[in-house]
Structures are given as structure tokens and as C-alpha cells.
């Protein structure tokens, strides 16, 4: 895929930020290979009972839309304006100051002027003005209004699946206009007439049926974990015994299924297993995995508020069925925006759970007292603060680590210090990327919000460029060779990104770093990390 994109420096110098000579309304949009994602599979759409399930092709002339699609969109638009103040206000108050323009990773990486957040929003706003405002109705194009035509629809579809809902632009907007919110609404409207992409639709259908995006059935889920158990035994001599769907466990653990499935997320999953085993041996910690709620991520969030709620419902339902005290959540990005800002509102109140308290340190997680779900980085930050983990930090000495703040934990939650505290507790060499590329100003991996498909690799490499460029900076300056993150999409998306832009840097989850440093009672001397790579200490002992 990336072969025909040429060398990285060629890719880089090809990026042209000059806007077209014609205005954006007068510049037709061409749906280009490498940028767009394949259309939703009708089976997935049908399984969820969502509208207009049929086979369609984004590059074809005819999209197989219902005859009254304009009416459906207009009605859906009106309905959402009435239900969401955010949408209404954001449609009205933009002054087009341009502060957001060069904050978007997709604009920076593609140079396409319609990827400026302001224009992305204007694509929809122009229709809004035409249908719902006096000025637009009277003055038409002069007031920036245009009717919804098939060309406009296709343009909206194309660009609303080039936004990863990362919210970076909203940090800089003087009115807090959040393009993520606008994209969410836009995608809801598109879904009303069956215009989803398959990389979202099929995971959603899978998740609905099997409990996880990858469609792993319960027995297979257990098999995959058992496979990790064997690996851990081989590498450390420890036999971990995870429990599944166990009633009466203290805590339910939910993490993205991506980590069960593909490297390097699998090492993070092994990290969880080893960590939980350690806590159980040492402190009697009782935790269970669920095969029913075996997905932390929620691609429903990228489909519609309703679909998000349908998938998210499993978390509380399963916690209730199993009778646990509270829920611990694994490393994931958008999963945590859903949990932090939506779950309790949608599917709460979780009055059948207890206010989360760490059974090991006694710390009350006051910040999660209503939702009753704690992030594993918060949980770990508390453990390392109280010195509850036996660590051999030198095992991570071959790593020079930097940390990528995932968009949603950063800008939809504000979890900035917890993961850093944990990394610093388990690694001796930690370096921050430049200030404008981390924390609340962090850059997306380029593949968020369901855009981590294969067919849009050009878009992903472009969108991930600002992140990769910042990694390259610390790689060259400090010799950074490991990029840590707390997001399963990152763990899937950053490796190809690094391979293209900064091949010397690898990607890891937080819990992999922790588990590598963790001294587990009864373990054999560790000569390798969880990846089976020799540890620095055992490799060149004489240097030390």
C-alpha cells in the first residue's frame, strides 16, 4: 500500500498547503483512492437494524440512496438541532477566524484545504444555513448557503470520514467549537441513509453479536487468552490463571479486543494478565474478564449516539449480572471518552455497583464515584505511588521511552499525569515530545474514529505525520526508541506509521512496560521481555 507513496521525504515535500484558486464551494470533490474507506457491508448494517442496507460503492455514480434521502437528511438535521444544543450553537457562531485551520493533523498532513476544521464544519453549515436560517434562505450563496445535492452529500461523506474526532481544533477555538461534535452529527445523518464505512459498520455488528469488535466468539476469546497464558509461562515460568464471566469477583475488567488480537497490543494484554496475577498472589485481588462485555472500544460512537448506547450497555449489564463491586477499564482512547463523558448519562445510574476503592491501597477513586469505572492508568498510578509493586526498572533500561497522549483521554478526560507517573516508575529513560504535540495539544495517530482501515493508508500516513514528526524529533535528539501509549487503536495504527516515518521506533502499551519491570513471586530469572527479546542486562552484563 505504502509502496506507491514513495519515500517519506518525497511524501513530505509533496504536501502542498496552498488552497485552490477557486472557492471551496466551487471546487468539486473527487473521491480518491487511498483516502476513502470502503462502504459498509450490507449484512452488518442489516444485523444492527440500521437503515438502507445494500451493497454500494463510494466511487460509483449511484449510491443506492432512498428516493427521499434529502427529506430524511433534512428531518434528521432538524431533529438533532432540537436535541443537541452543541450542534445548534456550533452551527451558528463560527466567525471563521481560522485559528483552527492548521491545528488539524489531516490538514497538516494532506494540505487539502477542505480538511481545515472550519471548512469541514462549513460543508455542513452551508446546508444548515440554506435549510434553517433566514439569512441563508434570503441571500443564498452570498450568505454561505447551498442546498443539499448529491455532490454536496458525497463531499460531506468524503470529508467526515477524514476527521478522527480528536478535538484538537476545539482546544484552540475561541468559542470551543468542537469539530468532533459536528462530525459525530454529520455521521449520524449519513447513517440515516446507510452511508457508513465498513471499518466501522462491521466491528459494530460484531460487537453487538459477540461482545467485541473482532467478532471473536466466547470460546475463541478464551483460547486467545490461554495462548497468552502459555506464552507467559514460557517466558517467566509463571502460570497465570485468569477467570472469565465469574460471578462474585470483586472487579470486572474490560479492555479493547484489539489487544487480544494483534501485536503489539497482545503484549499489553499479557501485561494485564501478569499484573493481575501478581496482585492476586500478593494482595488477594479478585478480577474477572467477560466474554460478553469483551470490548472496551465502541465504534458505535462513530456511528450514532444510539448505536454507542446499544454497545455500551453491555458494560453495566455484565457488571450487574456478575455482581462485581466496580469496573476497571483497560488502555483505550475513545472508549474512555465514552466512559468518562457518556456512559453514566446513557446507561446509568450504576447504583448496583460500589464506589470504587482500591482493595490494595484503600484509595477511594472519588473522581469515578458515580460512573464507578476506573482507568487502569489511574489504578496503577495509585499503586506505584504507594509503592505496591516490586519492580526491577533496569529491565526497561534498553528503552528510551516517549509518551503519546491519546486524543480522547487527553481532551475528553484530562488523564495526563497518571500514565506519565507510571512510565516514570517503571522506566529510567523517559523523554517528552515538544510541548505543542503532547498533553491537550497532542496529535492524533491519524487513524482514530474508525479510520484505521487498510485501504486509506495514504490518509493515515498523512494524518499521522505530525505525531510521527514529533517522535522523529525525540528519536534524533534523545535516541528515543519506544513510543508508549494507552490506546488500542494507537497500538494498531502507530506501528505502520512509525515503520514509514521513523522506522527505528517501536510501539508499546503502558501495561507491557509495567509487566516487564514487575518482579512476580516465583518467577524464573527473566532473560527476555514479553516480546521474547533479550533484556539489556542479560545481553551485555559486563557493561554494567
Amino acid at each position: 500500500m505504502s509502496d506507491d507513496l514513495g519515500k517519506p521525504d518525497e511524501f513530505f515535500s509533496r504536501i502542498d498547503h496552498r488552497p485552490s484558486a477557486t472557492g471551496w464551494m466551487d471546487t468539486p470533490t473527487e473521491i480518491r483512492k487511498g483516502i476513502y474507506c470502503y462502504a459498509s457491508n450490507p449484512k452488518s448494517v442489516e444485523y444492527l437494524g440500521l437503515p438502507n442496507a445494500r451493497k454500494w460503492d463510494p466511487t460509483a455514480e449511484d449510491w443506492g440512496l432512498p428516493e427521499n434521502w434529502q427529506e430524511i437528511i433534512a428531518e434528521g438535521f432538524r431533529d438533532r438541532l432540537e436535541r443537541f444544543r452543541s450542534f445548534k450553537v456550533f452551527m451558528d457562531i463560527c466567525v471563521r477566524c481560522g485559528a483552527c485551520a492548521d491545528k488539524c493533523h489531516f490538514f497538516i498532513g494532506t494540505g487539502d484545504p477542505k480538511n481545515m476544521p472550519v471548512v469541514r464544519a462549513e460543508l455542513l453549515r452551508s446546508v444548515y444555513r440554506n435549510d434553517f436560517t433566514t439569512a441563508g434562505k434570503v441571500l443564498g450563496k452570498l450568505a454561505g448557503a447551498r442546498p443539499m445535492t448529491i455532490e454536496v452529500l458525497k463531499e460531506i461523506w468524503y470529508y467526515f470520514f477524514q476527521c478522527s474526532e480528536c478535538r484538537r481544533c476545539s482546544v484552540f477555538c475561541p468559542y470551543g467549537i468542537d469539530t468532533a461534535e459536528i462530525t459525530i452529527m454529520g455521521r449520524e445523518l449519513l447513517n440515516l441513509i446507510g452511508l457508513n464505512i465498513d471499518w466501522i459498520a462491521t466491528p459494530v455488528a460484531n460487537c453487538y453479536r459477540t461482545g467485541n469488535h473482532l467478532g471473536i466468539q466466547p470460546h475463541a476469546f478464551k483460547d486467545m487468552i490461554d495462548f497468552f497464558v502459555e506464552d507467559i509461562e514460557e517466558l517467566t515460568g509463571i502460570t497465570v490463571e485468569p477467570s472469565f464471566n465469574q460471578k462474585g469477583a470483586d472487579i470486572l475488567f474490560i479492555t479493547p479486543s484489539g489487544d487480544v488480537f494483534a501485536d503489539p497490543g497482545t503484549y499489553t494484554a499479557m501485561g494485564y494478565l501478569l499484573l493481575f496475577h501478581y496482585l492476586k498472589e500478593k494482595y488477594g485481588f479478585s478480577i474477572t474478564w467477560s466474554t460478553y462485555a469483551s470490548e472496551g472500544g465502541n465504534f458505535g460512537f462513530f456511528t450514532s449516539h444510539e448505536t454507542m448506547k446499544r454497545l455500551n450497555a453491555k458494560m453495566y449489564a455484565e457488571a450487574k449480572r456478575l455482581g462485581v463491586k466496580w469496573i476497571l477499564g483497560g488502555e483505550c482512547g475513545h472508549m474512555w471518552r465514552v466512559i468518562h463523558q457518556y456512559m453514566d448519562t446513557m446507561n446509568g445510574p450504576a447504583d448496583f455497583l460500589e464506589e470504587p476503592v482500591s482493595p490494595i491501597t484503600g484509595t477511594r477513586f472519588e473522581n469515578a464515584k458515580s460512573t464507578k469505572m476506573v482507568h487502569i492508568a489511574e489504578f496503577l498510578a495509585d499503586l506505584v505511588h504507594h509503592d505496591k509493586l516490586d519492580l526491577d526498572v533496569s529491565r526497561n533500561d534498553h528503552l528510551k521511552v516517549t509518551y503519546h497522549d491519546s486524543c480522547n483521554p487527553a481532551r475528553g478526560m484530562g488523564m495526563l499525569e497518571e500514565p506519565r507517573d507510571v512510565i516514570k516508575a517503571v522506566c529510567n529513560h523517559f523523554y517528552e515530545m515538544p510541548a505543542n504535540t503532547i498533553r491537550e495539544e497532542t496529535f492524533c495517530c491519524g487513524s482514530g474514529s474508525g479510520l484505521n482501515a487498510g485501504e486509506n493508508m495514504e490518509l493515515r500516513l498523512a494524518g499521522g505525520l505530525p505525531r510521527a514528526n514529533a517522535v522523529k524529533y525525540v528519536h534524533e535528539k534523545h535516541g528515543v526508541n519506544m513510543l508508549a501509549c494507552v490506546c488500542a487503536i494507537d497500538r494498531a495504527a502507530l506501528p505502520p506509521l512509525m515503520e514509514y516515518w521513523v522506522p527505528e521506533v517501536d510501539v508499546t502499551g503502558l501495561c507491557e512496560l509495567v509487566a516487564n519491570a514487575l518482579i512476580v513471586p516465583g518467577e524464573a530469572e527473566r532473560t527476555t521481555n514479553l516480546r521474547g527479546e533479550p533484556l539489556s542486562g542479560t545481553e551485555d552484563e559486563d557493561v554494567e
Binding site: P8, P19, F84, M116, T133, Y292, Y342, D344, T345, N367
Partner: protein, 335 residues
């Protein structure tokens, strides 16, 4: 363009056609009514839509563990944090203050980010000087002029250049508006995103500032007569005194147009910023539950349905199940 037409319309209307009453009384009143009713309706229309989810953009560390320092303003968990955040946003344009400019170095394949203060500075000067000018104009509508207003005016004119003295706010307003306009025209991306609706209010405000400054320093308006007209409007006993030149009516007409245009335009950002859900809510959603007034039940794939789908395989893999295969009763107890 439109602004020139408006200029000609009002100037000719007064000078040639003698429509003083229309431009001095009728239109200002109408404009005021449109402004007040329009803004109120718009704000009420926004307020009518609920806020189903608490979705602040968090721009700093959350409140979590006691030893981790929370960013109380950028990630507020209390009402006071939100108030501080909103005050900073509205009075100091805090978010705009963060503005950066991206730089591309093709030789080194490097991307850089530079702090970009000019947009923030221009916007801040523009809005504050506009407010100062507005406050200063209250002297035309109040008799006697309150002492605080006189003091404010003396601050505004502290340069004491020329006679009548130059008012800093008027000059700054004009300069800032010209800066914002120039920026719109010169920067390719800003030009690309600009609509007619972005230029029109700028031209109008520039017109207002120029006509105002012209009256004060060049055409030398009869201030007493102007005040008489203003007081007449304010006390609902409108009069058209003699000796007010055409430029005054142009000035007043521009202001009227701006007022009437306000509720239908992007100028409503003045009200909207207060209602922006990414800024005006606490970010402690996990600690205190937010209520969605239209939260409706949805179809979910329940555990029972899931187990029905996979029971055999689950049992085969040694996973616990709620119902055994032979047990047909709905609430099977065997595991």
C-alpha cells in the same frame, strides 16, 4: 460594496431628500427593536435545545488522585472552576491565546509550531476598544453625564493630542478592524474560508469608526445637537434638531444596520460563547452524573441472547453459563 451603497443611501437620503426623520428616528428605533427581539429569540432558541451530554474539552489535568495536581480552570470539576474558565475565555480570549502557526521545513522534513499572538492581540484590541467606544457613547444618552463616565473618557483620551482630543479607543478600533480585514484578505487560508458575511460586518464597523472619527476631528459635528437627538431617542421624545450634518446620519445609519444585522449573523458569537457546551460545563462526569432529558431505551443484545447464541461453545470451552443446554426453564440455576 454593500457598505458603500448603504453610505450613499443614507447620505443622499438626508442631504438630498431630507429624510432626517426616517434616518434619525424611524430606522434607529426599528433597528433597536430588531436587535433586541432578534438576539433574545436567538438565545432562547439555543437555550431551548437541551444539553444531553456533558462534553467539555479538557485542556489540562483531570481531578483524580489527591497527589496529582489538577488543572482547576482548564479541566474544572467545580462551578467556580467553570466560572473562571468562562471569564478567562470571554474577557481574555484564553483559547485564542494558545494559537500557534505550523511551519514546514522541506529540507529537513521537519514540522514546527510557533506561538502566534497576532490574531489574539488583534481580536482582543478590537473587542475591548469597541466596548470602550460604546461606553463612551453613553454620554449622549445620559444627562447629567455620570462622573465615572467622565473619568473613563479622560482615560480614553489620556494622550491629549489635538483638539478635540484624540480618543484612543476609536483609533484602536479602526486599526484593529483594518488589521482583521487585511488578515482576511492577505492570508490565503483565511481568504479561502471567508464569506461575504465575514467582510460585511468588518466594513460596516470600519465605516462606523471612520464616520465617527471624521465627525469629531474633521467635519466638526454640533455635539449639543447630536446629544439632543440622542436624548430624544432615549427618552422616547424624539426630535430632529437643526445643524446635524449628513455624516452623522451616515454614522447612525451604519450603527442601525449593524444592530439589525446582528441577530442574523455570526455576530451572535457574542451570545453563543456563553452557551458553548465544551467550555461551560464541569468535566467531572464520572463523579457526578449528568442527566439527559431525552434518554430513551434502545435495543441491546442481552446476555441471555448472547448465551443462547453461544451456549454450546461456551460450555465446551469451560466458560460458566447461566442456563444449561437441557434446562428449558427460563431461570435455570444449574451451572
Amino acid at each position: 460594496m454593500a457598505v458603500i451603497v448603504l453610505f450613499l443611501l443614507s447620505y443622499a437620503g438626508v442631504e438630498a431628500a431630507g429624510l432626517q426623520v426616517l434616518f434619525g428616528i424611524v430606522i434607529p428605533y426599528l433597528a433597536l427593536v430588531v436587535f433586541l427581539v432578534g438576539v433574545a429569540r436567538r438565545v432562547m432558541n439555543w437555550a431551548r435545545s437541551p444539553v444531553p451530554f456533558r462534553i467539555p474539552t479538557t485542556c489540562g489535568q483531570q481531578k483524580s488522585l489527591p497527589w496529582i495536581k489538577q488543572s482547576k480552570i482548564d479541566n474544572p470539576s467545580s462551578k467556580w472552576g467553570v466560572v473562571a474558565r468562562m471569564m478567562l475565555e470571554i474577557l481574555c480570549f484564553r483559547s485564542l491565546f494558545r494559537n500557534t502557526r505550523v511551519g514546514f521545513d522541506n529540507e529537513e522534513s521537519k514540522i514546527s509550531y510557533k506561538w502566534e499572538i497576532w490574531l489574539w492581540l488583534g481580536a482582543l484590541v478590537f473587542h475591548w476598544s469597541f466596548l470602550s467606544v460604546l461606553i463612551r457613547h453613553l454620554r449622549f444618552f445620559l444627562e447629567p453625564v455620570p462622573a465615572c463616565l467622565k473619568f473613563f473618557e479622560s482615560l480614553d483620551g489620556f494622550l491629549q493630542v489635538g483638539l478635540p482630543g484624540i480618543m484612543l479607543s476609536g483609533i484602536l478600533l479602526l486599526a484593529a478592524a483594518l488589521f482583521l480585514l487585511t488578515r482576511r484578505i492577505i492570508l490565503p487560508h483565511v481568504r479561502y474560508i471567508s464569506l461575504a458575511a465575514d467582510y460585511f460586518p468588518l466594513f460596516l464597523i470600519i465605516g462606523i469608526a471612520i464616520s465617527g472619527i471624521a465627525m469629531r476631528h474633521f467635519t466638526k459635528i454640533d455635539v449639543v445637537a447630536a446629544k439632543q437627538l440622542a436624548m430624544g431617542l432615549a427618552t422616547f421624545h424624539p426630535v430632529i434638531p437643526d445643524g446635524i450634518g449628513g455624516v452623522f446620519f451616515v454614522h447612525l445609519f451604519f450603527v442601525s444596520v449593524l444592530m439589525a444585522y446582528f441577530p442574523f449573523s455570526k455576530l451572535m458569537h457574542m451570545g453563543g460563547v456563553f452557551l458553548s457546551p465544551t467550555r461551560n460545563l464541569t468535566a467531572d462526569t464520572r463523579a457526578s452524573r449528568h442527566i439527559n432529558p431525552w434518554n430513551y431505551p434502545v435495543h441491546v443484545h442481552t446476555y441471555e441472547e448472547y448465551e443462547d447464541d453461544f451456549r454450546e461453545k461456551m460450555i465446551g470451552a469451560g466458560l460458566p453459563v447461566d442456563k444449561t443446554i437441557t434446562d428449558e426453564s427460563p431461570q435455570g440455576e444449574k451451572e
